[in-house]
Amino acid sequence: MNHIAIKMLMGDRGKYLGIVMGLTFASLIMTQQPAIFLGLMARSYSFISDVGLPDIWVMDSKVQFVDDIKPLQDTELYRVRGISGVEWAMPMYKGLLKARLADGTFQTCNVVGLDDATLIGGPPVMLEGAVEDLRRSDGVIVDIDGAQDKLGKPSPTPGGKRIALRIGDSLELNDHRAIVVGIAKVTRTFQSQPVVYTTYSRAKSYAPKERKLLSFVLVKAKPGQDLSELARRIRATTGLAAYTREEFMSLTYEYFMHNTGIPINFGISVLLGFIVGAAIAGQTFYNSTLENLRQFGVLKAMGTSNWILLRMILLQAVLVGTIGYGLGVGLTAVFGYSMRHSILAFKFTWQLLLFSGAGISLICIFAALLSIIKVIRLEPAIVFKG
């Protein structure tokens, strides 16, 4: 009876396409919106994941997320270095400074100061130049997106595309001259501000004069150390906060989850996608069953059992669900691929496939259940009614 079920489903092309399109729309929204959400949330901790070497991040105990900088005294660095189990500890400056551009405008930049000697915490991928070039006089490394866009030089033609910063170009950071010595690829941050890397001592000279300028102490554990235990020891000894990389990413992620409207906004989009998809697909599927009710009645009169009719409806639901889900997920993948070079945040994980799959299954089960109840309650004697 399976082929009869499929032909009954596809017999009315308009309705069939309506059901598939409703499910495609729902699947697209339920996959694409969470993918953007996950991409956005991943950006909240991208700076931490980009800094690969350290095992533990040490900071002021009141820090709530990675951009919530509460500077420490430089002496804290030496206290951390003195704790057993620490292989090395390096300073890092992170702060927002204004850059004066060639056209006289200002652009806020995320300035990262790395330990002068080791340059630990540098950019993950160098596109031009080398991290060691930071040791050159006034040297800074600029991220490629910032260099091409927000820090770029004005176009000679009005309204034209900005001219990207190149090695050798200069800019002013808080009235201090800085020379571009490298271009790096970094993961976009949440605010999408340009990232400028320099040495720790130079960063301190760029920053407004304050008593405390040390943002983080980056710690590498000795081989065989239990990282959680070492972080606990650092906290107990210094009174500072110490997190493993994963803990710090989680702290940042949780902060954005609980203190911004992002999850609720995306949650509403996903819910709307689910509701609209369920309404369109569910109702069209149910209407299609209602229109086929006499046909189901004929099959029932001829001796088809309720169990077989139930299987026929489930097959129809699985078929439209699979096609709609596949199209929605496929469109999401195409969307993500076409936006891969844009500013849009997008993170497509296998968990999202399960999530939207579960959503589409719910819609299909809901639609099929309504139809099944109708068909099972159907009196076969309907076939003789005019």
Binding site: H3, I4, M10, A301, G303
Partner: protein, 233 residues
């Protein structure tokens, strides 16, 4: 009549529809016997209970009281599964509105009763094509119902009703949607193909033009059989 020669035996069959605010008595003590090899027509005004009676006889509606036996089997006391199997094997249906599945072609429509009886699709469609050839539609086996005339659709419906060789064929106004000539052709076909000594045909009709095809005509009124008369002298 000898019970073994009976296809249908109804005794004091009562059916009352409860519409909520009122009860409508559709069958009010119907007594009817249909013999094997017989073509029985049920006639009478609209609402007299003809359709309800063939629904009970065909096993798609349960009576509220009385006894209805088809080929010696009491339909009311059958289990649901037994009744489904009984209908699938023994009953063929022809409807006024044809009730063909619009998205299936003629051969696929005709093959449905065979598939319900567990015959594989390819074999069922082969038999369906053979049956369509018997009813003169061998050239239209792949046509969809919408591509067929009313008469052709009714012939497909007849082929569907007969393809699994049921012993009782129940027809509801089989000619009312057809012109006179096509109606006569359909009746001739039904009588030729459907009627054998081990089968019976029950036809509900208003169409006096086809009364001549009946062996007996049962006239109903107000839920009763008021008269049964033979047509062959």
């Amino acid at each position: 009549m000898n019970p073994s020669s009976l296809a249908v035996r109804c005794q004091n069959v009562v059916k009352i529809y409860d519409t909520g605010d009122q009860k409508v008595t559709a069958l009010n003590g119907v007594n009817l016997e249909i013999a094997l090899g017989e073509l029985m027509m049920l006639v009478g005004p609209s609402g007299c209970g003809k359709t309800t009676l063939i629904s009970v006889i065909a096993g798609i509606l349960d009576q509220d009281a009385g006894y209805c036996e088809v080929f010696g089997e009491d339909l009311l006391n059958m289990s649901n599964q037994h009744k489904l199997n009984f209908r699938a094997l023994n009953i063929g249906f022809v409807f006024q509105a044809f009730n063909l599945l619009p998205s299936l072609n003629a051969a696929e429509n005709v093959s449905i009763p065979l598939i319900i009886n567990g015959i594989k699709r390819a074999d069922a469609e082969r038999k369906a094509v053979a049956m369509l050839e018997r009813v003169g539609l061998g050239a239209r086996v792949t046509a969809l119902p919408a591509e067929l005339s009313g008469g052709q659709q009714q012939r497909v419906a007849i082929a569907r009703a007969l393809v699994h060789s049921p012993r009782l064929i129940v027809c509801d106004e089989p000619t009312s949607s057809l012109d006179h000539e096509t109606g006569r052709t359909v009746m001739t076909l039904l009588k030729e193909v459907a009627l054998h000594n081990d089968r019976a045909l029950v036809i509900v009709t208003h169409d006096a033009r086809i009364f001549e095809f009946a062996d007996r005509i049962a006239e109903m009124d107000d839920g009763h059989i008021v008269e049964v008369k033979g047509t062959k002298g």
